[in-house]
Every structure is written in C-alpha cells, then in structure tokens.
Symmetry: C2
Subunit: 586 residues, 2 copies
C-alpha cells in the first residue's frame, strides 16, 4: 500500500501520528520559507506543510502532479471549518513524486474554466472534479440501495443477453454482424422486454436487472444511444401490486439518499393529466391547472375563439403586474416553432377589481369577470389563454405553464413531487411517411387492455370511436414533470396477443417471425404478469438535483453519438469487414 | 395479488388458515373420489386435495397448466419429510385455471427427458427445472455478496460504455455500424480495461463493475460470445494489496455461499507451476507432481530418452495393479491428437519390491530403483514417464495427470483448492501465419514488468535470453485447475508504455491511433494502479459444483454463437442495411 490514510480521513485526534498520504496536487502556496500544498484524492483534501529542508522540491510541484508524502499530523494554527480535515495539517518529512503531470487544459475545480467540448475530450480529468465525483458516488449508492431493497423482497437479478434479434418495433436497433453466421446480424436490445416476459413464463416471479439498453435514434438533447434502466417484472400480480411495490422502492430511495419521507404518491389518470395539465407527465410541484373557457367565450364576435375547438386558460397568481415586455416575452415564447401557438390572450385581474385584457374589444367587464371566476382568479392574478384544436392547445399551454413555472421559481429542484399516471390509452394513430394511417402502441405491443376491454374482439375494438378511451393497464412514474419510468400489465394469453398484433398491422407471418418464440412460450402456461422499467440515468440526475443526465454517466457520448475522448465510432480495417462479409457503401 | 402465499411457505402452524395459491401443475394423481395435485412455483411445491365436488375439473388439469386455488390448510395424513411443505396439504374449495398449457416437449423434472438441443430451443421451459433455478439463484446471491463486500471496502461500481472503439489487440471485436457516422463502427468491449485505467487516472481509486464482455472467437466448448466479469481496479497499491483484497473477497464468498472457511490461499510462481505441474493453472486438490528423470535415464541405449530434451515422470500412488488394458488406455489417451505424445513409458513398483517397466530391455533393477527414489515411489505405486521437448512434454504430462486425477476420483467438485499463480512472463513469441516471429503480451500490453525489470531500456530487454525469465507483475487466481481470474499491476508512465508497445510491434502511429487517449491520460498524473478481473460465469459454475457455464446463464448461445430459442442472429431488411451504409457481400 502506498499510503496509510486517505486525504479525507485525518482529524484532530490523529495529531502526532506519522502518516503516509498519496494524491494529486490541488494547489501550492508559498509563505516565506514554508510551502503549503493542498493534496487531493477521492476522499478529500489534506493540507501539507513543507519546511525549509523540503520547500525547494515542493516549490517545483505543479498542479495535478501525483505525489506520496510521509509526515507528522499537527494541529493547524488557522483552522478551516469548511473541510473535515481542516483542523490538522501534515508536517512533511519525505516527498516522492510518483508521476508528473502536464498542465491540465482546464482547472480541476468545482467550477471549471473548461468548455463543454474540451471537458468531454479530457473526460478523465473532468471526472476528477468534485461535482462529477459526487454524481458517480450517488449513482453507485442508488444502485446498491435498489439492489438491496429488491433483494429483500425476493427479486432475483437475472442477466439477459445483449446479442439478440432485431425487431421492427419502436426505435431503430443497433445491429452487430455475425462473422460465424455470414449475412446475419444480432441486434443490441432496446430493453430486455421479451426476455423478462419469458422469465415470467419460466416461473421467476420477481425479476429485476440494472441493465444497459441501446437505441439508435437521432439524438435529441440529453438522450444517449446507450442508457441504463432498472428493469423489473412480477408474476401473479395486478397493476395495484406493481404500483405499491415500486412506490415502496422509491420511498426507500428518497429516504436513504435524500432524507425525504413520503407516505404515498398521488395518482392521476392519463385523461385527467391531459385535461388539467395538457401533458401526460405533469409537474405537480405547482398548480396553475387548466380552465376550459370554450363555452364562455364563444359568440362574442372574436373569430379566433369562435373558430377554436377549445379555449383554455391558466391562472398565473399574483402576476397581474407583469409588464408589457414580460407579456410580449410570453407571447414570443408560445409563438416559437417548438411551441407553435399563433398568439396569446391575457387578462389582468387588477388589484382594484377591474379587468384589462388583450381582447377588451370583444368582451365586457361582465364577460371577463366570468373568465376570472372560471379560473378561480383573484385580484392581482394574470390569466393567460390559448385556443385552437384541443390536443394542440393543451400541449402549447402545457409548455407555457412550465415556462412560467420556471420563471416564477415554482420548480425548485430540492422539492420532489412524484406522481403515478395511469390508464394510458392502448393505441394512437400515426401517419406513415407514405400517408397511411397506422395503429401504434403507446406503451408496447404486449400491454394488456384495461379489465373492461379485455375480452373484446378485434371487430368490437375497431368500433371504439375515441381511441383515447380504449385504455390499457399501463402506468408511468412521473417526478417533477419528468417521466422516470413506465410499465404495464402484459397480455398473457396468445389470443389477445394475436388481436393486438393484427391491430398493429403485423401479418401473422411477421408476428411469428419476430415474436414467435414469445407467442409459443405463452402456450406453455404463462402466468398473469406485469412490470416496470425505471430510467436509471434520469433517476440519478433527478436525485442529484440536475436536469441533464450526461454528468451522471462516467463516459457519455455527445449529440452525434460520438465518444470524443476515445474518438469512437471509427473506421475499421478492410480485413475486419471481409471477415464479417460486409462492405461499406459510401 | 393473485395469491396469499407461495408454494414453499406453508407449514403445520398454518393449519386451518384459508389461503390462495398460484402455480404450475407439476402432477396429478387420482385416488378414488379424490384428486391430488402437486402445485409448483419458484418457492416449492404444495400438495392440493380436490374433494368430490371439484375432482371433475381437477382431473382435466394437465401438466404445466397455470392455476389459482383457494382452500384450507390441513394436516397431511402421510407426511412427506423431503419437502418443507410436506406436513400440510390444501383442501381446495375454489379453482381457477389462469392459463392452459400445451403438453411440454420434455418433462419439467430435476432430470429431464429432453435432449440438449430441445431444451435450448424451449429454454423458458428448461428454466423451470429446479437445478437451473438453483443455478440462477446462486448467481444472484453471489452478485449481491460481491457488491456488498466491495461496497463495504469503498469500491465504487462505475458503468463503462458498451459502444467503444475497435482495437487490434487480442481476440476479435464484435462491431456495430454507426448510422449517424456512416462508414464508421463502434466495437463492443472485450473488457473495460482502458476505461478502468482511465478511472484510476480520474482518481476513483477503488473501482469495480459486474459487466458484460464480448469476444468474437471461434467458440470452443463452453465459451460464450458474451460473458460476464467482475472487473476491478485499485490505485496506490502494489501487487500484494490486490492479492490480499481479492483473496478476502473470495474467502467471504466461500464462507457465505459454501460455508467453507479459508485462512489464506497458497501462492505459486508461474515457473514453479510449470516445473511441478506443467501447467499455469494447476489443480492442487491432488499431488502427483512432476519428477525430472532426464539425467538419470540417459546413456543406457534407449534412443527415445537419449534424444529427449527432458524426461518427466509422475507417480500414481497405489496404481501398480493397473491392468495391461488400463495402461493401454492411458497410452491411447496421451497419443490422441489433443495431447500428442508419441508413447508412454511405465514403471510398476511391485508390492514385493521388484520393478517392472516397459523399458526393461534398457534399464536394470538398480536403474529403475533410482527412478523410483527420484519419484518418491513406494511399493505398489505406478510411475508414468513422458519425454521430448520440455514445454511440450510438460503440457502432455499435465494432461495425463489431470486425466488420472479424474480417473482416480481425486478431483472432487465439493473440495475447493484455490491458488494464486504469480510472476507470469511479460511476453511470449508467436509465429504469425506469414511466418514472422512476433512478441505477444501474455497478459495485456498495459502490464507492468516486475520491479527488477522496471527501468530496463528496450535494448536491455531485447538482450534477455529466456523470455520466460522476464516476468511481469501479473497473477491469476486458479481454483481446482480452472483459471477464475487474472490481473496485473499496470504501467503508469508513458515511457515504459511506449517501450512495451514498441516490443509488441505497434508503430508509434498505431499505438497513438489505438491507445492515444490512454497514453495522453498518463501524462496528466496517472497514479500507480493495478487490478483484476474474475470470470463471473465460471465462478458461478464452480460454486455450483459444475464444469460447464452454460447452465449458469439464463439465455446462453450454442457453439455456433446462436440463440436457438429466439433464432438469432438473423438477416435484416435491406432498408436497415441501407440506413447503416453497409452491404452484405455473400
């Protein structure tokens, strides 16, 4: 061992001990004949004092040099109350430079002077910074706690294969050419979905795995081509059992890692979430729920409202004093292409009880008062109104609500508001690039319909007018407006599964080719089962109080899917390509 | 919840309780008006009794049907002491068939009637069998214990990427075409070697990960293209620290999972292992070590020995009574192509003190007595001798030794004999297919030479005559003749690393292209570090008392790298290939 202690370990009661420490030179300071060095490792910082006999060498130490010292622990004269080792320092008697360091391209401080790209390129240096280290420590601690908790409930962690089969469902697969089976490819799993269902068929009634998943998507901000999920499945359970089990897991994690106690999480149907928040993952840290003014505002000659399918308002409490500029900024916000509204109507509920709106021309004081009543607005509040096609308007107003929530400081990252959203619809209709309307699973094609729809025939299902009312036993865990996970009760009988595949436009042949092994398995005694998957990167970021996942992953990729540190992906030898029986076509 | 209890849970003190159970029908037996059903789940088997009113339905139950029953726990008349629930049975009042099962293609019993291939195809049914379930439970338990133990020592589990960069070193990489970076490929890691070394540079001085690794090798028996390892690395340590740390981990695992106590593991240098066992992973559950007769046997006119570089013998104790047929079988064994000896010389030490050898023509009683003395043989023992080029003869005799060990029952899977082998050579010379002699890393190119060789120049190294004497700080953990893991102290300075790359025939350009990021990282304060990786599949098999890893992996691949259950790998759409800018060339 190169050291007797770490740099976070020594306290006042170690005074007079001889110790050996190792670490990186954080900084050096000269004071007369003495040199002070802050020595850093993963555990903390310890101050070293070099007296006259060593100060000459000490002066030559540069930032990030790796050294080993031996010396005596002494009490500091001026104590540093900010660090746990701040009461002592080491009077150095021996110094060995283990490795010199070039000057790092950015400072290894809590707030580095390095830009994003430079820090990604030198990720191994960026990871030395305390904030990143704390993130990875948090990640480790959470994974340990997840496993400990699920193990205590008799869940088995079972590893599933990474070299599997490509499926046409959902996002694009990464594929892996097989040298031993020329012309054939493995796929990397987007999730272990089918394997965990097979494990239920095998009788492993409580399965989990902290597992890497892969999706070859065009990367939006804060998506990674490889990500980690806590993947879980249970047999002989109903939706209620799954919600309770994983709510208890989350309560445990909040308790041990944040010291926050939760009794239980609120629940909201998908329909209510859309109605009141315009969004299936509402941030319920603040109210500002939707008020439908459609019937109130029609027939007063204001064409925009008259022509709209829906008119919805939110009440920004105590914001009547917003300036023209602030209102213009909000209007600009909703008009940006990402939101896509045509304009924003406001109604100020003045402190004196009068009203001032941007549509005073069409609505009198009485009309506006009715708006305010509908919105539960009081004097001093500001009502903001959008209109148009229902689902579009809901989405736009949801964006505005979150924007205002940020602006008004209602989204404090230290406050956690978990929520179960349930009763998701089974399907949505999407238009293919070729203009064909296709049914598409909201969750995935193994999701069970809600109890009351369970025994419908294909023909009965096709007669359902509003597809949103055809609900599934599917649920999401949402925290602070972020979807942390989701799952469903699965179909466990072949008949229902066949109907669903038909509705999704899989021919029997395609379904058999892709999922034949699962459908076959279902004929050999599949138990009722269901599960959930939680995004582990996202969960870590949330518990770390941050929005982006990148700094909770040791070696993330950039938005082009590149690892700029190792410079991957890269070209490979022709010999390698030949062995794999493939050719690059560009 | 579909059940109140599992099938392994009910005991005599539950009598009179009303319970609801779920599970699979293991078997049914009719006895007059009654029907008995063994109901199985992951936790055990519970006997159900259907009285007159339900026996009609009960009789229709087939093997592996999934049912739910409600009934009263009653005491059994004839108790079954072999199972924990054997004192009770359930008098069923309500039966629901949750899912019918087709007749499974093989029996779900401890010893199934299904062949290997059929069971692989229906792996989800094979996994229902108790022996496989126990294997996966053992695997889960070991992974929990590994994590718990390493966590208690401040090791952090840090996930490293699976989409990395192809390296020319060692086995073939699996590659993944990048759609977003056309013509470029990721590689799947053969191990997280470089990332764990980067983490040491980053200051995470105790890292581990239970991680999947990938190797596109022609699969020998009991190799898998994807396998799991316990990957570990430490900084500011010497070889001794690593051996002690992971010996303690293994001692812990033996204790908690097998109830076996170890104080410490014996250690043996690579040179001694080769000398005494002819093998770098000796099975030390039994002796039968090598005796070198070379000097004793020369010059007596027996040309085979006279021409041999080395003559080595083992002493099979108490085997003088081996029949002619048994000796012929041993001769056939060493002559098979996998072993490759030309013949086998024996010497019987008869009970009456006389000797009988297959070379009596050349050696008199006095000569043979000297052989026996050299081999520590006593009356009743059998000496077996091979000769030829030293390393070839060692390997052949090692094979014979293990073969005899098996034959004589000296390799009991319930006895565990762990061993550290250390001081491996740095390099071996191999001949390329083109006939060029190349230096090749025995461990890997980041391995540090032993202390005494650390500061040699390239020229000094090239002057070392016997490459085997140029040792590395590399070590293997061997248990019962199986390599369970290995590791090394790494090179942490760029200068030594450059010399090693040169010796391995990497041009500076190649080394930079492949490992540039690591060599760069070493310039920014790399600490002294080293590590180890343990084969987790192999470890599980060993603790499970079995030789093959396949049944310790939930969904393994066959010897052609195929998953016959899901039928992967498979062809993919032309559209998918086009998007990836690749073409199949066969």
């Amino acid at each position: 061992m190169y050291r007797s202690h770490t740099n976070g370990e020594l306290r006042i009661n170690n005074v007079n001990q001889e110790v050996t420490l190792c670490g990186w030179v954080q900084k050096t300071r000269e004071m007369g004949a003495m040199t002070f060095v802050d020595l850093r490792d993963r555990y903390g910082i310890t101050q070293l004092v070099f007296g006259e006999e060593h100060t000459k060498t000490a002066k030559t130490l540069g930032r990030e040099d790796v050294i080993q010292i031996t010396g005596k622990v002494i009490e500091r004269e001026s104590k540093n109350k900010n660090i746990p080792t701040g009461e002592i320092e080491i009077s150095v008697t021996q110094l060995t430079v283990l490795n010199k360091s070039k000057t790092p391209p950015f400072t290894i401080e809590d707030n580095s002077d390095g830009g994003e790209e430079l820090r990604m390129q030198y990720r191994y240096l960026d990871l030395r910074r305390t904030p990143l280290r704390r993130n990875l420590e948090l990640r480790h601690r959470l994974s340990i706690e997840v496993r400990k908790y699920l193990d205590s409930l008799n869940f088995l962690e079972i590893e599933t294969p990474y070299l599997i089969k490509s499926t046409p469902e959902g996002a694009r697969d990464f594929v892996v050419p097989s040298r031993m089976n020329p012309g054939q490819f493995y796929a990397l799993p987007q999730s272990p979905q089918t394997f965990k269902q097979l494990l239920m068929v095998s009788g492993y009634d409580r399965y989990y795995q902290i597992v890497r998943c892969f999706r070859d998507e065009d990367l939006r901000a804060d998506r990674q081509p490889e990500f980690t999920q806590i993947d879980c499945e249970m047999a002989f359970v109903e939706q209620e059992d799954i919600l309770n089990t994983f709510e208890a897991l989350m309560v445990h994690l909040f308790q041990v890692s944040k010291g926050i106690e939760f009794d239980s999480f609120p629940r909201m149907s998908y329909a209510d979430a859309m109605l009141n928040y315009g969004c299936d993952k509402p941030d319920i840290r603040f109210g500002m729920t939707f008020n439908y003014l459609t019937d109130l505002v029609k027939g007063k000659g204001f064409a925009i409202f008259d022509d709209a399918e829906t008119v919805i308002a939110i009440n920004a409490e105590n914001c009547a004093s917003f300036t023209r500029k602030q209102l213009d900024e909000l209007t600009d916000y909703v008009k940006r292409p990402q939101v896509g509204a045509k304009g924003l109507i406001y109604l100020r509920c003045n402190e004196d009880g009068t009203f001032k709106s941007s549509v005073d021309k069409f609505y009198n004081e009485e009309d506006l008062k009715r708006w305010a009543t509908q919105c539960n607005a009081k004097a001093g509040d500001l009502i903001l109104v959008l209109s148009g096609e229902t689902s579009t308007t809901q989405a736009q107003l949801s964006a505005l609500r979150l924007h205002l929530g940020n602006q008004l400081g209602l989204r404090n990252p230290d406050i956690y508001a978990p929520l179960w959203v349930y009763d998701f619809p089974m399907f949505e209709k999407i238009k293919t690039p070729e203009g064909i309307i296709q049914w598409h699973s909201i969750h995935h094609p193994f999701t069970s319909p809600s109890e009351k729809f369970k025994n419908l025939t294909k023909e009965e299902i096709l007669q359902i007018k509003d597809l949103n009312t055809f609900t599934a036993q599917a649920y999401d865990l949402v925290i602070n407006g972020t979807e942390i996970g989701g799952g469903s009760i699965r179909i466990h009988d072949k008949k229902t599964q066949s109907i669903m595949f038909e509705l999704l436009g899989f021919s029997e042949e395609e379904a058999l080719a892709q999922f034949g092994f699962l459908m076959n398995a279902f004929e050999y005694g599949a138990p009722p089962h269901g599960g959930i998957a939680l995004g582990f990167d996202r969960l870590c970021a949330l518990f770390g109080g941050q929005e982006t996942i990148r700094d909770f992953i040791a070696f993330p990729k950039n938005n082009s899917g590149r690892d700029v540190m190792i410079d991957a992906p890269a070209t490979i030898d022709k010999k390698q390509l030949d062995e794999l029986s493939i050719k690059v076509t560009i």
